[in-house]
Amino acid sequence: MQRLKPFFTIGLVMAVFMLSGCSEMVVLDPKGPVGEEQKDLIMYSIWFMLFILLVVYALTAFIVYKYRDRKNHTGYDPDNEGSHLLETIWWIIPIIIVVALSIPTVKTIYSLEGPPAETKDQKPLVIHATSVDWKWVFTYPEQDIETVNYLHIPEDRPVLFKLTSADSMASFWIPQLGGQKYAMAGMETELYLQANESGTYKGRNANFTGEGFTDHTFDVMAMSDEEFEKWASETKADAPKLSKEQYDKLMLPGHVKEMTFSSTHLKFVNHADQADYALDARERLGYKSLVPHSKEAKERREEEKKKKQEEREESESHGDSHAH
């Protein structure tokens, strides 16, 4: 037992860590009903798991302490090779636990397929989210506007995201609003999310997509319905139209700043129908993908780095550019 002490101390420290950290972690701090539902399920399972850990650790500690080899050792029984009763018990208990976990899991899985129960009768806002290496294109077909790398959504209203990708498989994730789903070329997946509090949330691609993956992020601004409508109509009136040439340029791998348009790319292409559009666009623009270790690729990377640095300096000197 003496030897195992540091071990349990560490476990204890970790447990304290965990309990104290709960409230701050984004997944456990949801701002909408979808994330809320998932958080409830997570907490339900965490309590179960902590109970299992407790039982196993207590049993381990007891057995290891009691039956360690020492002087005056008692109770040694080398031929004790099983017990039907005990074994039946520990076949049945895990089965019960699995059943207890399965029921809420399946319920939640089915419930997450549709809009949140509390706002079921509202018409969801449809937004197409398209991933291109390494940016997000958001299309509001009803408003006929398009944004790049940022999102505005109304609060207390379900949002139906139609996800697709122009190239590599990405995963659309806004942790504080709910879990992720893949966005894949030639495919359209659907994800319902909803924000119940206004504010700015971090969203990102969670599935590895190569070199620019780390910065494959976007901001989500949740606001009141009126504010959203106002923003949408202003955008429709003020923002430039999206041309095919400009859209094709977006197909090149790389990062771009936030952009806003008063028309959508759906009139040129829907990547869910046409998986190879981005590759064709790159070919049209004469873009060549390079072997990562070739001299040309290194030069291109250096240029990218310089560009990024310049942009950063620029944005620092102009203050924060979150003025949409």
Partner: protein, 137 residues
């Protein structure tokens, strides 16, 4: 019991092979007829032709390949051979049926390839407003 099947093979006319051969030809032609000449529904056609395929596979294994044949005094080898093939069949069904299910279920309604390619999301809004806008910028 040991070597029984093997020993029987020694002399005489290869009846087993001949029966297997004739049956396999009959099954092949019958499957072809079911598939191309009858008006059964697709589901039934698939059930019948795949049923025949498995039957024919079993024929090959039993009549030609002697899958149950024992080589040693214990029956283990024969059992291992049969068990191995049955488990392989089980895995094969999981791989094929599982993949098809997972890759189509749920995706079916989103998979654009299965839909007619006439329009894309016209219903959602004004994107059909013509191409001209595209050339403005």
């Amino acid at each position: 019991m040991a070597n029984k099947t093997a020993a029987n093979e020694h002399g005489g006319f290869p009846w087993k092979h001949l029966i297997g051969f004739v049956l396999s030809i009959v099954l092949t032609l019958f499957a072809l007829w079911i598939a191309l000449e009858t008006d059964l529904s697709l589901t039934w056609i698939l059930i019948i032709i795949f049923g025949f395929a498995f039957l024919q596979a079993a024929l090959q294994l039993l009549m030609f390949m002697h899958v149950t044949e024992n080589s040693t005094k214990t029956k283990l080898t024969g059992r291992v051979q049969v068990g191995n093939i049955l488990f392989a069949a089980f895995i094969a069904i999981i791989i094929v049926a599982g993949s098809v299910w997972v890759m189509t279920a749920g995706h079916a309604k989103h998979d654009k390839h299965d839909e007619p390619k006439t329009e894309n999301h016209g219903g959602h809004g004004g994107e059909e407003k013509s191409e001209e806008h595209g050339s403005h910028k």
